[in-house]
Subunit: 337 residues, 4 copies
């Protein structure tokens, strides 16, 4: 951390700040330029509050050198994390595919889709039971009943289930019933929820917030990890930009960037990223060659009658064809699909 | 709602969609252009799910004509809403000021600040007990103890208290202890929390999400209102832009725009908007002349030692001087400050 | 400038960079933290190319401490700049208003509007002769004829004229005919054009690019100033955000921020910022109380038949009423309107 | 185009607008909903100015149904465009690679790089002679001398040359000397420049503006095409987002989206998109599998001493290895690399 003092700050004010920093346990390195006087802090500064220093009226700005995340930081944990889910894994050499409908609608629907995606090579079943919808008047999911139907689909196909948790009231139930707990984009900074799931030992699928930076995503992971749960899988699902033809803009560079700065696995959701079924295939293929650890894809047997997100869901036949293409690419990229 | 069919769609596919829309209770108006065939839906379409129609592979796009919010919509509720809080109000001719520290730190601090701001003309006391911080290693607020201190300050000054709720677990306590429940920017789309506070009858201060559109803010208000609680006060607190000199960018046009489309009162938070204490005064004055119903301002007796957000807090003396300027402007603008 | 070396960089690589920096004339200050090794550069670093240093594979990142602009920087030029235009000025205590139609349409139109706005207190006449339109099929302005009509309006009203230059081919003509040369948002980083007008001594009105940061705006001003022309007036005209109800989002904090970092005058264009005529008044008033040096407002006698931007133009009567309100506010703010 | 009238607009005002539209040559289709009265325009509306209608105070909003571009629109030109450059092509089945340094620095440098990239399979040589730099104090390119050096490199390698034009003054020279004229991101809406190059018959490489939507990119292409030059190649080069680890965010979905709405070829610039050399490979591979027509890659023999953009340039060896990987992917994707 580097403190830039305002031009022409009096000596005693500089001394006061230096003393305070020393009292907080930091080493000090000074550098006096023509206009600016810099105070570099040495040592572990991750517990020092930037905004508190910035509040000093003689401080021009505070520059962070070290990333603010620790447990999620590759610098302190060079080995890649592989998250185990039953006898399956996310991370490592395997390219894992999670697939299923936006929302669970009926036993027939969810079991049917689960069987189809399993045949095509998916490793996990997704399906929304509790749905975060922009409008209170839209379908909100089958809720508890949806969870029960997911469990039936798991029993019949042996696919672990991934579903979104929206409220701390349901954590106990999710821990019992679900294999991977998903935290949606809108709750990425619902810090209370993050802390509470951090106290469980369930694998967490953490989606990037709609306008979140990668640093903020990693800080959200840090919230979970700081409570003890290190089984965090990150998910890039598109960010909001000015582009209007697509729902969001897939930030593909997030994959190599996260791989560089963190040891956590990262997957891509091409369905939400583009918001259009015909974008799923090109974006999914791009995710594989860019180094993602897997995908989360919306598959629906009857998109035109889906209760949500039909325009971005692909049919099981198209999913099969996508998996075939991914397998071919996987061979070139030395990834097991 | 207008459905634009893909160019060259077969007649029977168009008929199928038309029949489906009629079966959902809509009237139909068709218009055939050179390239596009349009189907206009007449009647109450607010319960029709746009994404479901868009999922139809013959549909090019779906255009929404009517705003998706109903209870928050001025069209159906032309009278301005005034929210009553004890013997005070937000909305109407009065320009109300909420002030106080980012976080409650001690009895002495919160009571001291409360007394000062009251003298200068503030009507409400704010103070964070539970704090949503980007880092799990930053100060998280005094939590329950903070609430107790706020209650002491209220007792001593008679100022109603405004504080942020982060978790549904605490709703009962907040309903009992607090005068206005604040929902922070990061929880603007925490739909479960919105629904639960919608079941109380406490006034709600709903802050705009960091990258939320005004429509999304009004839809979040709609979530609360659809559960029965219509005492919603909106708060513009700056949105994320590419600008780096400021923490966020105050969207001042949000005030007249919200006034046009909604009947709910709207206040401005100049402290979070700019993130810099020296921006508070110009932005606060601008908010008044642009028609806001009030302000929420961070005031701290010792910003350089504040436990959070010190760089955007002003001291009580400066707050007094700000209030004096606002009173002068209020006279010109026929607003009671 | 601070160079952050990658963790675990070998000593000799660090030495190599240090030597290079010394050879470029910089002083060096080192600081070794637990993980990062920092090299601080002392002296005038404004001519050192950050990207060149960043290209070194051992460099983690380069942090700029000092603002990259010099001539536009208040640090080196503490006195506020006042730009003289004939016997008028922009900057200083006066709040100057530029008004007129989006585009010049006829002699009757431009002279009529010029007379009306002059009566209401405007100091300058604006009017587009060459128009940058998003579509090649939209009205492109009367071009040379438009300039002639502006000159007639100036002759009749004595108002200096402000109009947009789009091409270097026309510079000579503009220098002769026009009082203030406007550079539009889309050309803010048309560096060739900036350099060429930098060689003239005409006052320049430089509009902020649609997604430009304030630093980029000041760097664009620096381009003009580095060629010798220091008569630059900046114009905040709204930036692109995700908000859809308004054309752009006025960044009002840009005014105090620019005033802090630069000595150049800054005005506000409330017409383009909101894109809606009913937003002009609240935004114009907000600009005044936030400290702007003036306004640029679109006024049209018949907005519904204007050849461009009619939806954001106000009629002369409304302009008069706006000026009256601004004069009242000016008295409180000690500004001469 | 659909005109939405304000709620409760008087009949005569609606009639007036209808008559005006009919007088402009449009057919009319009306639809009366509960709250809104809609007027649909039938026929060619591309020459009707949306903003002019919106200026009518009784109009709530105007909705565009048809894309505003015509010559660039796939709807009217279903066949894919292939741009011929000498005996080479961009578009069609071939995946073409343009490579070379950010800026031309010396004969040895440009000829050396040209030879290396040719050996590895590049089809075109890029190199900046006139450089658009953010700071007037940064290296501005060798200018005319740079062009001469590019011509020497072309002579020695037979690679067609691609370089950026910044000013209309140089068009004649570029038409004579250069094979593909590049228009940079900052000049994407420099409409005068677009019109002037539209009058030549040189192939144009048009880069997407930093915050431009795809529609705006296609409208910029339309400017060129409307003057007669239809040899336009589009280039996705990353857009500005809130992400700070990367220079820009590559919008990969732009490729399939452009392919759907336009017939023009589209290539990707992975160097500017990420701004970091280690992102070039994953983004380049992703571009190929997502369907791009080619790449533009920065290659430099000595990035750490490059005069610009060294941190995003790859060395010739790494370029060779990238080309080998692209060739393997090309086989799977049935693209000739």
């Amino acid at each position: 951390m580097i403190i830039v003092m305002k031009p022409k700050t009096e000596k005693e004010k500089i001394e006061k700040i230096k003393n305070k920093m020393v009292s907080l346990g930091c080493g000090i390195h000074e550098s006096k330029g023509e206009n600016y006087h810099l105070i570099g802090l040495v040592g572990d500064t991750s517990r020092i509050d930037r905004s508190q220093i910035q509040a000093n009226r003689s401080v021009e700005k505070v520059i962070i050198v070290q990333e603010p995340y620790k447990k999620a930081n590759r610098l302190f944990h060079p080995q890649e994390t592989v998250v185990k889910i039953g006898n399956k894994e996310i991370g490592g050499n395997r390219f894992s595919v999670i697939a299923g409908p936006c929302s669970v609608e009926s036993e027939e629907q969810i079991v049917g889709i689960a069987e189809e995606i399993k045949k095509s090579g998916a490793s996990f079943l997704r399906g929304g039971a509790y749905k975060p919808r922009t409008s209170p008047y839209s379908f909100q999911g089958l809720r508890d009943e949806g969870l029960e139907l997911l469990k039936i689909a798991r029993e019949k196909t042996d696919l672990p289930i991934v579903t979104e948790l929206m409220s701390p009231h349901k954590i106990e139930k999710f821990v019992e019933d679900v294999d991977v707990i998903q935290i949606g984009a809108r709750n990425m900074q619902n810090f209370d929820l993050l802390k509470e799931i951090g106290k469980t030992d369930k694998p967490i699928l953490l989606k990037r917030g709609m306008s979140a930076t990668i640093e903020e995503l990693l800080m959200a992971a840090e919230y979970i990890m700081s409570e003890g749960n290190e089984k965090v899988i990150l998910c890039e699902r598109g960010i909001r930009t000015f582009e209007k033809y697509t729902r969001n803009t897939l930030d593909l560079s997030a994959i190599p960037v996260i791989k560089k700065y963190s040891h956590l696995p990262v997957i891509v959701d091409p369905s939400h990223a583009g918001g259009l079924w015909w974008l799923v295939e090109p974006l999914a293929k791009a995710a594989l060659v860019a180094g993602a650890d897997g995908l989360m894809v919306e598959v629906h047997n009857d998109p035109a009658n889906a209760k949500c997100d039909g325009e971005q869901s692909i049919k099981p036949e198209r999913f099969k064809s996508l998996m075939d293409k991914l397998k071919k690419l996987g061979k070139i990229e030395n990834r097991e699909v």
